[in-house]
Amino acid sequence: MNDVNEFLKEMVSAPGLSGYESPVRKIIETRWRPLVDELQVSKVGSLEGLKKGSGSKPRKSILLAGHMDAIGLMATRVVNGFIYFTQVGGVDPRVLPGQPVHVHGKELLEAVVIQPPDFLIPGHTAGAPVPMEHLVIDTGLSADKVAELVRPGDIISFAQPPFELSGDTLAGHTLDDRAAVAAITICLQELQTRIHKWDVWAVATVQEETAYLGAYTSGFGLEPDLTIAIDVTHAKGPGTSESDIATLGKGLVLGWGPNIHPKWYEAFQKAADEMDMRYQKDVMPGHSGTDGYALQIVSTSRPNMVISIPLRYMHTPVELVSMKDIRRVGRLMAEVISKLDEDYLDKLDWEGNND
């Protein structure tokens, strides 16, 4: 199973900003092809893999969504050879100065994000974080050359390579949410040797960070009967609040709240207990901030679940996850899926018991 580490590292070494996912989609396509019966790309670019179940037709289907898009930057203006930029998805400007980036201009350019000295920023308090509008990107090229190669709207991706830390952990950018794509891949691998009656749609969604686009559209187009959104959640670390309950490496996180069907939730809790697998419960009282929101409210709706992988330093180029947690998510989903009876939905009773 260690090759999943390599796969995840390969994924987070690739760009794939929201709307520009094709580099990472190709990597996932290659990996999923032998694991699924059909593979297709949605109208807006999500990768949809179908692993057929053994139940009688018409078969019920379950959709697993992990988003493959990455947060990043986009050039807004080029002034005197320096590139000003905005964010694609939520980027914390405090972590940007000093970061290596790739500018995807007419050529791929290595570059760094720099902050001007405090006294050059109008109305700026010395020592305070520099707002994004004052940060610039330096490619080292002459002003003429930059003007020729870089235009407003060119995307800029993080260039920080992933690296393994001790304790089976991995640091890098875009582990939100390619860690989930890795978990879905583990689930597909597990299902190769198991019998499952339901069809399984593994979906690497696009543009979650900007619009939940992939979840809305695959959730509509594939007409699933059950859904799971797999995402990351803040793990305890410096600066997290007491309500951030998840601890890195201490097990996957089962979401609980209005985005989640309470009886569908129980299936995961029960399976985890039976597998003697550690899990933590995450209270999501409002919008879960995941593809799960879109999956729940699109078309006629269906029971949705949100599973999270604890992650420290979210939306920075050094997100940190435990590989153990990722493997747990993959195995738990495979267990739940293989236990789905053909009449599971008929028994999914709000009021009564589900067994």
Partner: protein, 331 residues
């Protein structure tokens, strides 16, 4: 084209109350349409052409609603308190005049200003319609109004309220007239309630079920003194929207639009908008997903009673839209 724009901007139509502007647009498009529908929310859906060969079903969306105000309370002396319909800012209100849908006009002012350095919030402002008491007030709670400001022709440039987004209506009407041969089935949709959350485009796109979505809207211009820092200026051509916080435009459509502009020697600008969204975002999320993009007109002073655009941009936008709709693209 200025006559058409003048008619369009001077007809009131705050979000949810688009009857008058819809009737005007309907009369303008009727001679050129193959089919006209009004959906349950009030969007005007105008079809032209049928799909042949590699043609596509394309939805072109421009919103016909505009920002405005709605009365929330009338006091004993006939002064009206109001709330905003869409993004209305206090600094553009004080001293402005408003036109109610029943024809009544009023002026907006503020409670006594004690601190000239800070801007009063909307709840400190009121509308005076010249009534001496609540009983004599010619409007009621729930009545809506738009800003009242005549169309201003400055030659190359024009200024008015509601150029956001009647300028799109003008461009779409012109383009509808000019598209002669098209392999596409075109749906020119004049949407409602964009200013309060892209609502008309959401339902119209579900109904039309397009393969490609093109919104036409306004975007900030970066060419005013110490203004927005965006690389878009008046007079340098319509924009190809690449990004705003609500949409990452479809890469294939960005290429299509740029190639078409270059092929026809139409100037264009690459737009990266830091704030705001358009109907394109709603279209993209429709059903199983619709590749979508927006073409914008660089506009100064958006959401004020004196929005300003350059007529060259408007004319080039008509050319670009017409060229796009007369061709097609692979997805």
């Amino acid at each position: 084209m200025k006559d058409l724009i003048k008619k369009l901007v001077e007809t009131p139509g705050p979000s949810g109350y688009e009857e008058q502007i819809r009737a005007l647009i309907r009369s303008e498009v009727a001679p050129f349409a193959d089919e006209i529908q009004v959906d349950a929310m009030g969007s005007l859906i105008v079809r032209k052409g049928c799909k042949t060969g590699a043609g596509k079903r394309i939805m072109i969306a421009g919103h016909m609603d505009e920002i405005g105000v709605m009365v929330t309370h009338i006091d004993d002396n006939g002064f009206l308190r109001f709330t905003s319909i869409g993004g209305v800012f206090p600094h553009t209100c004080i001293g402005s005049r408003v036109l109610f849908m029943n024809g009544v006009k009023g002026v907006i002012y503020t409670e006594t200003i004690t601190d000239y350095k800070s801007m009063p919030s909307l709840d400190k402002l009121y509308i005076d319609v010249g009534a001496s008491s609540r009983e004599k007030c010619p409007v009621s709670v729930g009545d809506s109004a738009v800003f009242d400001r005549p169309f201003l022709d400055m030659g190359d440039r024009i200024a008015s309220k509601a150029l956001d987004d009647r300028i799109a209506a003008a461009i779409m009407i012109e383009s509808l007239k000019q598209v002669k041969d098209t392999p596409n089935e075109l749906f020119f949709v004049f949407t409602v309630q964009e200013e309060v959350g892209l609502r008309g485009a959401t339902t119209a796109a579900y109904h039309v079920d397009p393969e490609i979505g093109i919104a036409v809207d306004v975007c900030d211009s970066g060419d005013t003194p110490k203004g927005e820092k965006v690389a878009v200026s008046l007079g340098k051509g319509p924009t190809v929207k690449i990004f705003d916080p609500y949409i990452v435009s479809d890469k294939r459509l960005i290429e299509w639009m740029i190639e078409t502009a270059e092929k026809h020697s139409i100037p264009y600008q690459r737009e990266v908008l830091i704030e705001g969204g358009t109907d394109a975002a709603a279209i993209q999320l429709t059903r199983a997903g619709v590749p979508a993009i927006c073409m914008s007109i660089a506009t100064r002073y958006i959401h004020t009673p004196s929005e300003m655009v350059d007529m060259h941009d408007v004319e080039n936008a008509v050319k670009l839209l017409t060229a796009l709709l007369s061709s097609t693209t692979e997805l």
